[in-house]
Symmetry: C2
């Protein structure tokens, strides 16, 4: 179960509250390990009880108090233990492919529309990734250690989105030709 570890890793980079973590997940680590705030809160509490993290309550004015979590020694140990065990293969669940496969049982035109919509969404996300690359990693070949690793993960996202967009184009093109 990698959610614990994704949170721990994110917390080593910077301490934060459940809410903040949920935001972070929305725009970085959650691209390949999505999580809702609910899940994050639950896992944080569990890890707190297990002693992997500690929290300090911070009173705020004008906005609700928050609990800022940071990784404790057992949490760090747990990360390196987990890093050493084999990762199971990435899970992909793509309803769009299922639809495409069954397209001829319904309105193919609608599936084509869906394809175009997804193409647009992934193109947007690709631009987001490229923006991050330009802003945060302008000189990739100077990177080392943690920053290099972060950059490489981003590269994976870019590659995945690129190939998704290209695939959509191939599909859209083929469906249009088939329709003529």
């Amino acid at each position: 179960m990698a959610l614990e570890h994704a949170i721990l890793i994110s917390l080593t980079e910077r301490a934060g509250s459940g809410y903040e973590l949920a935001r972070r997940f929305d725009r970085s680590i959650g691209y390949f390990w999505p999580a809702t705030h609910q899940q994050i809160y639950r896992v944080l509490r569990r890890m707190d009880e297990a002693g992997w993290v500690t929290h300090t309550e911070i009173a705020q004015e004008g906005r609700p108090d928050k609990k800022v979590y940071r990784v404790a020694a057992p949490g760090r140990a747990e990360i390196s233990r987990w890093l050493a065990e084999p990762a199971d293969p990435a899970v992909l669940r793509d309803g769009l492919s299922v639809k495409l496969r069954g397209a001829s049982l319904g309105d193919v035109g609608l599936v084509l529309k869906e394809m175009e919509r997804h193409r647009a969404e992934h193109a947007t996300r690709l631009e987001v990734y490229r923006g991050i690359q330009r802003r945060d990693f302008p000189k990739p070949n100077t990177l080392r250690g943690r920053e290099l690793h972060q950059y490489l993960v981003l590269r994976g996202g870019i590659r995945a989105e690129e190939s998704f967009v290209t695939w959509c184009d191939e599909v859209i093109d083929a469906l249009r030709k088939d329709n003529r």
Copy 2:
């Protein structure tokens, strides 16, 4: 929930038992919508109760009896209803990326090994896909309708695996250089 629909689509292509469906999922539709036999059995029963599918019990000699399911009219209606509604974006959960991101908190060499292992697995799967392409779709530009759609889904798998393998190579190369 696309598992119902993945099963229905698979059953329109060919009627079959839960067990057979589980096998099929293992080597085709399950590549982008994985499911265990347990899940398939449960969903089949639910769809049977809902009238989306019907089953005939088939007594076999030497091996256990089986229930062969086929799609009923309401099931077909349900497919085309579902095809017309928007698909939510593909979900990816990739523990390997999480590991890479946190690699510097543990033994980077081990993460590199993991990367190589995953690279090999994905290369194998890529070869499987390419084999299917050669065998089942030797002349892609003559395809139309259902076969075209199936081919296009396979193309998506090929593209995804290709880009994954290339990414692994990029990562492996970069980690090695960083280690020197």
